[in-house]
Amino acid sequence: MRYPNSWNQVKRLSALIAFILAGASNAPAGDNDQKNLDEQIKGEERAVLTDAPNVPPAITRKNATKVIVHLEVKEVEGEISSGVRYVFWTFGGKVPGKFIRIREGDLVEFHLDNHPSSKMPHNIDLHAVTGPGGGAASSFTAPGHSSVFSFKALNPGLYIYHCATAPVAMHVANGMYGLILVEPKGGLPKVDYEYYVVQGDFYTKGKNGDKGLQPFSMVKAIDERPDYVVFNGSTSSLLEDRALPVKAGETVRLFIGNGGPNMTSSFHVIGEIFDRVWPEGNTNTVTENVATTMIPAGSAAIVDFKVNVPGNYVLVDHSLTRAFNKGALGMIKASGEENKLVYSGKISDEVFLPEGSGIRVADQKSAKAPVATSKVERVAAGRAVYAANCAACHQSNGEGIPHAFPPLAKADFLNADKLRAIKVVTGGLTGKVTVNGQEFNGVMPAWSLSDEDIANVLSYVYASWGNSGKEVTAQEVKANRVKVGAKGQVVE
């Protein structure tokens, strides 16, 4: 997965030149700081700030300038997972906070504005700042107020910034972090795409999947038992139509941070090897051919790779229960031409179903789900069940995937028989089935969802995408469900 590493060559060359210029003596630590301190400031500009996953444009200036940054702190309610609400404290309205991009040597005039509706005072500690508290002491700001401080960017690199108001762990746990890139002079090597992703761990009063507004759990935070570990503030921020688009054959850079507050990330992209990694955001040291890179809480890394083959590439924290049970999943969608030499694709497929594997434990806990009292409520609740359990295969628009997952939209098989649909979902389905004239021969596992959840999800499916609009009740599910034994075998 390599491509000509011109950056490295340039770097080696410039190191050589610097070596010659320095008269063959090792520069003492802090020498570069002094140079950046001395660099003259020319002109003034307002920083372009972006929300994740977007990154501001690369800096092409050849000089240091005065950069004015306005960052607004807002406390906002949002969705951390399907149907699960959380009050996020944010730098700019979203988690993570806005991406800030400046150049080594720049003089930054930083305005921290705390929105009048905030309940809390906040401040900012930028790891790119040298000086006590990284700006925290001079940016401590009451609701409805604004603080200003300035700093000179002495060290190039990719840095986290975060709120440092007591209790710090809670401010960070609520989403108060983001990345600031101090671009080295001469910039980073060119790539085709740049994206911004930050991992964070969240602690809620209810369990993972419990619906409704979930308050922060201090007890779980102190015990380091997160209910959610997510990229960009929600379990779905980089999935489905929000997956990061790229083209096969092109190069991708991720600026990837870890806000914590507690978990260290074992960051990996399934199916890729990072051609270049600047670990811990240190732009002076590049390493090559890394599959999984460690990102400490309160740190960041830059990873570059070329996507050779089209398809889906899944971003994970390779501490895997975080990915598959707590939400640390994202996706890169590469479009373009197949390259069978690099990757053959599936050559053959036969069903392999060992004993006990036939049942799929649903992702969504149903124990506490409220009981729907009307069809409207059923359909609304079913939407969340669908998003969590079915959309991965049948797609969020119900269209399915040709040759693999049959459509549920305008599906004749589905609309013909409601009771059969209940049996399919409760008992699973294998073998040949024809839907809308297309033959499918796959496996759908049986779902261990409650009667209520199955009634809701089927009512939602029937109410959507041009289907017949039938309602399915919990009683009907109860009466018609296929009983599945502990080992997954069909009992009835």
């Binding site: 009048p116 309940k119 001079s138 009451a142 609701p143 107020h145 108001t165 809670m170």
Partner: protein, 175 residues
């Protein structure tokens, strides 16, 4: 109001300095500066409670303390609503005091630990030592986030600041 005594948000929810929307009649007054709050209390022959007095009045004990802490935290973490619920609608504590939590933040006489120079203090001199300086017991327990939030809130203020969620109550020595 003169700028030295209150910032630009002073009584922001009122159309003029001397009138307010009917719907707010029962809600606590907020967006007032420390100067205005203390002047009001003095006019009533009282004064703002000190931080120690406030914290003592708010201290919980017994088996409900943990539950209470959770409730308080859940309230602190939510942004301020446009309309604050009426006075008396919150909980009553073991001393019979209403609404210490759940409605608004409250000014204290020595909100930043330095009564004398409250208005002259520079933001640069803020120091977390002040959290402990007032001698409160609660703030020293690192697992009591709610107390930390209260102390850092007070610490972010200057006497002329006004905040949409910040009101006050007056206190006087028991006879």
């Amino acid at each position: 109001m003169k700028r030295v005594f209150a910032d630009d948000h002073y009584l922001a929810q009122w159309p003029t300095n001397l009138s307010f929307a009917k719907g707010l009649a029962k809600s606590p007054v907020t967006s007032v500066s420390w100067f205005a709050a203390e002047a009001y209390c003095e006019w009533k022959g009282k004064s703002l409670p000190t931080t120690d007095q406030w914290e003592y009045a708010a201290s919980e004990s017994g088996k409900d303390a943990e539950k209470m802490k959770e409730k308080i935290l859940a309230w602190y973490e939510r942004p301020t609503k446009a309309k604050i619920p009426p006075v008396g609608s919150g909980s009553v504590n073991r001393f019979g005091i209403h609404d210490l939590f759940g409605l608004v933040w409250e000014w204290t006489l020595d909100f930043n630990g330095l009564i004398q120079s409250a208005e002259a203090r520079e933001s640069g001199s803020k120091d977390t030592n002040q959290f402990c300086g007032s001698g409160s017991l609660g703030a020293l327990d690192p697992t009591d986030y709610a107390s930390f939030m209260r102390y850092s809130f007070r610490n972010s203020l200057k006497a002329n600041f006004t905040v949409a969620s910040l009101g006050f109550r007056c206190a006087r020595e028991a006879p």
